[in-house]
Symmetry: C2
Subunit: 325 residues, 2 copies
C-alpha cells in the first residue's frame, strides 16, 4: 500500500464526481487535479480544478488520467489526444465503435509510450468479462444479457422530447419469466418484448392530453414500440422525491452444455444503487492496473480482456493467493 498513484480526473460530471469519491476508498491513490472545459472558478469541487487547456503542464506529475467524458463526443476526441501524453483509462461505451476507438487510442498510446485501458465500467466492462469467461469455459451454450432494473438515460431523454411532457424517467426492467426460463436451462429464443419491460414515470404539462402522450411514447419506434411499456403520470414533486437517483444493474447468463448433455448455468449480476459511482469504482481499479503495466514498460491500448485481476489489486500476489484463492 506504499505506492502513491498520482491521478487526474478529466471531466467533472456524475462520473467524475464518482471517481473523486472512489479515490477516497483507495488510499494508494492521490488526486492531483480535476480538469474541466468549464471555467475552473465555476466548478464546485473540493479539489482544485484546472482548465483542460493547461493539462500538458501536468505531464510527469500525473501517473494516470481517468477520462470521465461522454462517449458520444468527448472521448472520441480526448481518448486519442490524451493517450499520446498520459497513461489513461476510460469507459468508452459505444459498442459498435469500440474496434475503431481501440485502434486510434492504441496508435496514440504506442507513439507516446503510454498504456491506455479503454471501455471499462460494467457494460462494456464487467459484463464483457463475464461473456468472455463464460464462453471460454462453456463453448457450447447460449448467452443472455438482461439490463435493469435501472434508469436508461437515452429512453428518459426520448420521453422528455414528447410534446406535452415536462419531465420523465424511464426504467428498463428484465422480465422475470424470461430470466427464470434461462436459469432453468431451457435455452429459449427470446424476442425483444419477452426480455425487457419499459416503465415510464411522466410529468405532463398542465392541460396536456395524457392519452395522446401515452400513445406517442408507446408507439415510438426503436425506443418503445418493440416493448411492453407502462406509462404512469405523476407530479413533478413525486418524480423528484422517488425517481431522482440513478440505479441500474443487470445480468449476464450463459446456459451451457457439457459431456453427456449436462446443463451448466453461469450467472453474473449487479444491483447498483448508483450507476455512475459503480462505473467510477471500476475505472479506479483499472487505473491501478494501468499504473502497474506502465511501470513494467508496456505501452499501447488494452481492454478488460487483457488485464489479469491481480493487477487491479493493491495487495501482493502472495496475499491474494493466501486470502482469496
Amino acid at each position: 500500500m506504499a505506492t502513491n498513484i498520482k491521478v487526474g480526473i478529466v471531466g467533472y460530471g456524475n462520473l467524475g464526481r464518482g471517481v473523486e469519491k472512489a479515490l477516497k476508498q483507495n488510499p494508494d491513490f492521490e488526486l492531483r487535479a480535476i480538469f474541466s472545459r468549464r471555467n475552473p472558478d465555476q466548478v464546485a469541487a473540493a479539489q482544485g480544478v484546472v482548465h483542460i487547456s493547461e493539462i500538458e503542464k501536468y505531464k510527469g506529475d500525473i501517473d494516470v488520467l481517468i477520462l470521465c467524458g461522454g462517449s458520444a463526443t468527448d472521448l472520441p476526441e480526448q481518448g486519442p489526444e490524451l493517450s499520446a501524453l498520459f497513461n489513461t483509462v476510460d469507459s468508452f461505451d459505444t459498442h459498435a465503435k469500440i474496434p475503431e476507438y481501440f485502434e486510434q487510442v492504441n496508435a496514440a498510446a504506442v507513439k507516446g509510450g503510454n498504456v491506455s485501458v479503454i471501455s471499462t465500467g460494467w457494460d462494456p466492462g464487467l459484463f464483457s468479462l463475464n461473456r468472455l469467461l463464460a464462453e471460454n469455459v462453456l463453448p457450447e451454450g447460449k448467452e443472455y444479457t438482461f439490463w435493469g432494473k435501472g434508469v436508461s438515460q437515452g429512453h428518459s431523454d426520448a420521453i422528455r422530447r414528447v410534446d406535452g411532457v415536462k419531465n420523465g424517467v424511464q426504467y428498463t426492467i428484465p422480465v422475470d419469466a424470461a430470466v427464470e426460463r434461462v436459469r432453468n436451462g431451457e435455452n429459449p429464443e427470446l424476442s425483444t418484448r419477452e426480455k425487457h419491460l419499459r416503465e415510464c414515470f411522466v410529468v405532463a404539462h398542465e392541460g396536456a392530453d395524457t392519452a395522446k402522450i401515452e400513445a406517442e411514447i408507446k408507439n415510438m419506434p426503436n425506443y418503445f414500440a418493440d416493448y411492453d411499456t407502462i406509462v404512469h403520470f405523476i407530479s413533478e414533486e413525486e418524480l423528484k422525491a422517488n425517481h431522482g437517483t440513478m440505479p441500474h444493474g443487470g445480468m449476464v447468463l450463459r446456459s451451457g452444455r457439457t459431456g453427456d448433455n449436462n446443463t451448466q448455468i453461469y450467472e453474473f449480476g449487479l444491483k447498483l444503487d448508483s450507476n455512475p459511482e459503480f462505473t467510477a469504482s471500476v475505472l479506479v481499479a483499472y487505473a491501478r492496473a494501468v499504473y502497474k503495466l506502465s511501470a513494467k514498460g508496456e505501452s499501447g491500448a488494452r481492454t478488460v480482456f487483457d488485464i489479469p485481476f491481480g493487477l487491479m489489486s493493491p495487495h501482493s500476489p502472495e496475499e491474494l493467493r493466501q486470502r482469496l484463492l
Copy 2:
C-alpha cells in the same frame, strides 16, 4: 483456430473423463495420451491409455499436461514433479495449502522452463476470481460465499462411515433467507447455521437403528453439529435412481458501499448439473492460456489471478473486442 494444442490427461477418474469430453468441444486441442497409474489394459477409455511411468517419453510431444488427480495425495506429488517436465494445469483445491503448493510448483516450473497454472476450477477458480474482482471494484464491502445446492463428497463419506449406514449422499444447501438478506444489502453477520442447511439421504442396513443413525449424523462434530441437518432414510434403489449425479454450484456475493452510502450488490453464481464436467471445462480453458504463455517464453507457476481472460479464448483479440466487449 488453426492451432493444435497437444495435451495429455493425467489421472482418469471423474475429472479426467470430464476433460476428455471437454476437449471434444474445443477443436483447437488434440488429446495425445491419457496417463494412469493403473494397468492401461484395465482402463476403459476411447483413447490409448499409457502407464504413468512412461510419461517422460512424451516430452516434446505434449504441449500441456492436464492434471486430474486429487488434492489430498496425487497433486502434492505430481504437481511439482510434472511441472519440471511439462507445462501443466491443475485444480489443486486444498485452500490452506495453496501458498505452499504454489511455491513448490513454481520452483519446479521455473527450473524446467515450463508454465503451470494451479488451482483452477470453480472454487478455487471462478469463485476466487469473483472475490478478487468484487473487492477490487468495491474495496468497502463484505463478501459472502454460499455453496450448493450440491453434493459434498466429504460429507457423503462421513455419513457412510456411521455404523449401520449402507450408503448415503449429502447435499449442501444455501439458506434462501440468508441469501436474500445479502442481496438486500443488509450486510448481515451470518453464523455457520444461518448460511447452509445439510440434507442427507441415507440407506440403512436392514435392522439398523435409524433413530440412532440420525442422532449420530446430526451430532457429528465439524461435519454436521453446527448445521441444521435433515436426514431422510430411503432405499438403495431410490438412492441410485434419484441421487446418482454430481450437481453443485453456489454463489459469491459482495455487498459494497460507494460515495454517499450507496449500496452496490455484486453477485456471481453457478448451477451445475455436473461438477466434475464443469471443473474439467475450466481446466481446458486454462490449458489454452498455459500454451500461449509458454509460447511467449514465460515460465513459472501462475494462478487465475495472473491470467487475462483473452488468453483463455481460441478467438483473436480483434474478434473478442468486436463481438463481446
